[in-house]
Symmetry: C2
Subunit: 337 residues, 2 copies
DNA sequence: GTGAAAGCGCTAACAC
DNA sequence: GTGTTAGCGCTTTCAC
């Protein structure tokens, strides 16, 4: 039996109507529990639908209702990264409460791929777009150019565009990390950061730098390393830092991937430096890693909430929700210089 | 400007055609690069589309082409669990290669919720369903009842139904864990397992049990604990095991969540028992945890591949792909009794 | 090479 | 309370 055997084609509403001996519209009314259907008629229609195994064709409904679907698109980095999957989890749960479906796509941290995905999603007539931008300007997402589809930015603010966004308090979190290490007596503190072109990394670097300057620690940037994007590079970078003549006595890593790399290196050292990492992670409590934590599931949830408000017709100026970030001491950040 | 302002409605093909001064069908042909369009005409149509910011309405196309969409649905547990998000990541990447989109939904580990989601997905006319079943029978997914939509089962085989599936070598992996601990001289080995009603947990339990019996270790089930579903219960269960008069000298946990719970408890013990966990996890190398590892991204990828084959018309009997599971010694599993 | 007409499956508007 | 007609935006047939 070939896969496109017409015998397995799903029944349509008019087949249900025919079986029930009513008109198309009456069947529609009955199945959508609209008013003005006799109890007995409704009964008969539902029985016919049941018997045929009828399922509404959502495509047809949505086309008729205005060419818009029940889907919300999420464009982010790889879901294999726990940061993005937590966001997806929070968004999906919130959307499901409103009968909306989450469609995910991986931008491969690549701007042109991201633009492609936006086009793909718009063609599928998503109701809203949630984007963790991988960089670059987002002017092309101007409201009028995308048919008025609401867009919410996650983790990084939009560039060249005003739109709803949900951000982490990157600057505050990084400042807290710096102040914690300074208070612990550290002066030679290394900052190991990811791609400096992303706004979130920049904010973390800036927050850290501000705290350092305020503490009268001006040449801290001897130990500044940015654009470290993968774990292997992080490991090499940190090894090199520790092999300096005057090695840092503490390290601040600005995301979970870099923190993981750091842990691999520090585990092999007999007298490791202090470590604070941005982003909490599974087992951080077991390993005893001090982190700047924030609720990533909440980030996704809030983004979905903003999107739903817009879908429901809420207008008004763009809103920004800030997710707090706070330091959790667990040992690694409390090692003395 | 209200959100439903008609001014922001996306332009349609006939508007493009009108602007280009050609018929609807010619515009369609030009934009789909079909043959029999004069070079100059195509030029004009593309210019008009560009000028209006035209985007194809995928809903309409798919309705006309037979009521089937470009989406593949994935129903699994919470994406916040790295197991499921790795599966989603692998599936999404593979589907994207074929122009398909992944729609995810969380079954909350709940059978009736899962049936709901299947209905929702079928209404949206997904091209295929990928399911990590949360339990129960799947007779309702019989091919003819769901309009011939291909279904692929992940991690757990279908019940009451023959269908494609991608499984982990649960039994072999569990056996390897048991044999490793036995070879290390352990006899009192605890088995801490999740919900025994799921086939994957059952296979892990069975593989372990078989190895125990073969080793002449018949009353091993003194230390058998099943239906431990959350980390807190796992922690309590393991604490209780270690407080027995004759405590186990080794523990085998049958998934990543339980392993995490075990690590929390063992970290506080001065002389911890040996530990082997099913499922690899981030930082397992840093923590030094011996695990039974398998490629979860590959699991998602293979499932997507099977689904795509069916979508492309491949018929034939159901296929089963088995993802190998192998033990990686990292220290915790090599502790002597 | 191009176009007119029909129709995918459904819902909205307006009869009766 | 029920039915008829039209049409969402597109592709398919068939004519020119």
């Amino acid at each position: 039996m070939p896969a496109d055997d017409p015998a397995v084609r799903l029944p349509t509403l008019s087949q249900v109507a025919a079986l029930a001996g009513v008109s198309l519209k009456t069947a529609s009314r009955a199945l959508n529990s609209e008013p003005n259907v006799a109890e007995e008629t409704g009964q008969r229609v539902r029985a016919a639908a049941e018997q045929l195994g009828y399922r509404l064709n959502g495509l047809a409904r949505e086309l008729r209702r205005g060419g818009t679907s029940a889907m919300v698109g999420l464009i982010s980095g790889d879901l294999a990264n726990p940061f993005y999957s937590a966001v997806a989890s929070g968004a999906e749960r919130e959307l499901r409460r409103h009968g909306l479906l989450l469609v995910t796509a991986n931008n491969d941290e690549n701007v042109s791929q991201e633009r492609n995905l936006v086009d793909v999603f718009l063609e599928r007539r998503v109701r809203a777009l949630l984007i963790v931008p991988s960089g670059g300007g987002q002017e092309y997402l101007a409201r009028d150019d995308i048919g008025g589809v609401p867009v919410v930015f996650l983790d990084r603010p939009p560039q060249g565009l005003a739109a709803d966004s949900v951000l982490i308090d990157n600057e505050g979190g990084a400042r807290a990390a710096a102040e914690h290490l300074l208070a612990g007596g550290h002066r030679r503190i290394a900052l190991v950061a990811d791609l400096a072109r992303t706004a979130s990394q920049r904010a973390r670097i800036d927050g850290f730098a501000a705290a350092m300057r305020r503490a009268g620690n001006p040449d801290w940037d001897r130990y500044l390393r940015t654009d470290i994007h993968d774990a292997a590079t992080a490991e090499r970078t940190i090894s090199a830092l520790l092999d300096l003549d005057e090695p840092p006595t503490a390290i601040f890593t600005t995301n979970n991937r870099l923190t993981t790399g750091a842990l691999r290196i520090l585990a092999r050292r007999s007298r490791p430096p202090a470590l604070v990492g941005f982003d909490d992670f599974e087992l951080a409590d077991v390993v005893g890693t001090t982190v700047v934590a924030h609720d990533m599931v909440a980030l996704g949830r809030e983004a979905a909430r903003l999107a739903f408000a817009r879908i429901s017709g809420h207008s008004g100026p763009p809103e920004t929700v800030v997710i707090p970030a706070s330091l959790i001491p667990r040992g690694s950040g409390e090692i003395a210089p």
